[in-house]
């Protein structure tokens, strides 16, 4: 899923300072799962913003709503009944959600979260990067461990010389992806695979050829 973290509250306060009526919009998908921008976080942020304006002797009107999926125009359409009554929108969805709203309504939209990465939950409260959407998945030849996202240098033929005690040179709390790949290949009994050269990557499907798009004729 896409992971996100709430922005520092002062940054959000700065964005909405000129406005009195705010529509605060959460999303029921990824940001709910990573506890950054679901219904609960919408409520918490609304309270924090109210508290802040009270302290400053101002009033602020916040309408809270959490959409099923903010990156989907169909759900974003639901904002139509509120949008004319507000001065600005604060979105707690990932950057895709923020942009879907910005593309639909003529009202200023501000992000309340920093969109981080495509990751998986490692354990309660911990998410780690797992994929960079390179558009040409190599997991089938790297034992199910991604060198693009999980090697700090995205080396296709690692490990580099900096690996220390099996950890990445950037720090002891990051596994060396190539150590993991090697161990996995050994576990699967296919370590010979390691010596096959992974040729220089074609970065076009990864975004090197400009913004990416999928067109499914059967669905469009």
């Amino acid at each position: 899923m896409i992971t996100a973290e709430q922005k520092p509250i002062q940054e959000i306060i700065g964005y909405i300072a000129p406005y009195g009526k705010i529509l605060l919009v959460g999303c029921n998908e990824c940001v709910t799962v990573c506890a950054a921008g679901g219904r609960k976080e919408v409520g918490l942020l609304a309270s924090a913003l109210h508290l802040n304006s009270l302290k400053q002797g101002k009033t602020i009107d916040i309408k809270e709503i959490t959409l099923e999926r903010q990156c989907d125009p169909e759900y974003v359409e639901e904002l139509i009944s509120y949008i004319n009554d507000v001065d600005a929108v604060v979105s707690m969805a990932c950057g895709c959600g923020v942009q879907t709203i910005a593309g639909r309504y003529n009202t200023p939209v501000f992000p309340a979260v920093n969109t981080k990465f495509m990751g998986a939950s490692k354990s309660q409260g911990i998410w780690e990067e797992r994929c960079q959407g390179c558009g040409d998945c190599m997991l089938g030849i790297t034992g199910g461990i991604c060198p693009v996202a999980r090697c700090s240098k995205s080396l296709l033929n690692g490990p580099c010389g900096g690996t220390s005690a099996g950890q990445c040179e950037i720090g002891p709390d990051t596994d060396c992806a190539w150590r993991l790949i090697w161990e996995r290949l050994v576990e699967l009994g296919i370590q010979d695979r390691y010596e096959e050269l992974n040729e220089a990557k074609d970065w076009r499907p990864a975004g090197g050829a400009g913004p990416r798009r999928i067109i499914r004729e059967d669905l469009a």
Binding site: S152, K153, S154, L155, L156, N157, G158, P159, C160, G161, G162, T163, S164, A165, G166, E169, I170, W178, R179, W182, E183, Q191, Y194, E195, L197, E199, A200, K201, W203
Partner: protein
């Protein structure tokens, strides 16, 4: 002969090769490069010019190499995958060759996190293995990585690094095999302090016949002090400094430690000369270039062959 490289000629004539390095200054002072190169020039067959070493901005490797070349010496440029995409790499390889540089080293490069521009975006378009393949293909097939023909292709003698110590150890010979497959001509290893582990690695290398495909220069770094030894053990990624090394330096007075360090380097080289597959030495005397001559002489490798 694939190239005009002096290093290639030294290997071809069956000599034990010696290389060393010059770190360019963090500014435009040409004198620094000349001074450092002058200290080692008669005792080596090639001089590495580092490329933004430890991710700190310095005079470029190619510029430093041209200065050294103009002194009538044999520079080896280094190129890190961190700072250039494949277009910039190939442009620089052609540029360097056009300026008379015929030997280079392909490296991953330290992560920018450690340097003086930690906010930089690292490139890593191609990794060091694919860089080797790219530059040997430019030489042997006369083609750019993108497939087009090169008019007057550059003929580089191509090296790379190897770390015989990093875990998992079994992977280390396989990794060298991969670089050999990519076409690398020579290897300069990480600084070696753990001799037993190095011997085990070399045995793995020779068992697979890789020493026949690739010339291996053993990395030598003389210790200036016990403080330096401890720092390298604890702070430098991928370094393996056994306790005996530290103990031996602790065993002599502070004033005697530099002499002991030099002595240890020479003893190491004497022992390594007997290890099958070792084709030479790469001496990394960090900010201690003035002692390289004495190490080379001490190890019985002076004068250098005229090739």
């Amino acid at each position: 002969m694939k190239t005009e490289s002096r290093l290639e000629k030294v290997f071809a004539a069956g000599h034990i090769a010696v290389t060393s390095e010059v770190g360019p200054p963090r500014g435009c002072d040409v004198d620094i490069v000349e001074k450092k190169a002058n200290m080692i020039k008669d005792h080596v067959d090639g001089i590495n010019i580092t490329d933004n070493q430890t991710a700190m901005v310095r005079m470029s490797s190619i510029a430093g190499a041209v200065i050294v070349k103009n002194m009538g010496l044999d520079p080896i440029i280094q190129m890190v995958a961190r700072d250039r995409n494949r277009l910039a790499m190939q442009a620089d390889i052609i540029g360097a060759y056009s300026l008379g540089i015929n030997t280079m080293l392909c490296l991953s490069g330290d992560h920018p996190k450690f340097g003086d521009h930690p906010t930089a975006k690292a490139v890593y378009d191609v990794d060091s293995v694919n860089m080797i393949k790219m530059v040997t293909d430019m030489r042997d097939t006369g083609k750019f990585q993108g497939g087009a023909d090169i008019k007057m292709p550059p003929k580089m003698f191509v090296g790379a690094a190897a770390n015989p110590f990093a875990d998992p150890f079994e992977l280390r010979v396989a990794r060298l095999a991969k670089k050999a497959k990519a076409g690398v001509d020579f290897i300069q290893t990480q600084c070696i302090f753990n001799m037993d582990k190095f011997e085990t690695w070399m045995k793995g290398v020779c068992d697979r016949g890789l020493d026949k495909e690739v010339k291996i220069l053993a990395g030598i770094t003389p210790m200036k002090s016990v403080g330096m030894a401890r720092y390298m053990k604890n702070k430098v990624p991928g370094m393996d400094v056994p306790d005996e090394v530290i103990k031996r330096l602790e065993g002599v007075s502070k004033e005697q430690q530099p002499e002991e360090g030099i002595k240890m380097a020479i003893e190491q080289m004497e022992r390594m000369k007997e290890i099958p597959g070792v084709a030479g030495f790469h001496i990394m005397a960090i900010e201690w270039e003035e002692r390289v001559a004495e190490i080379v002489e001490g190890a019985g490798l002076y004068p250098r062959p005229q090739v």
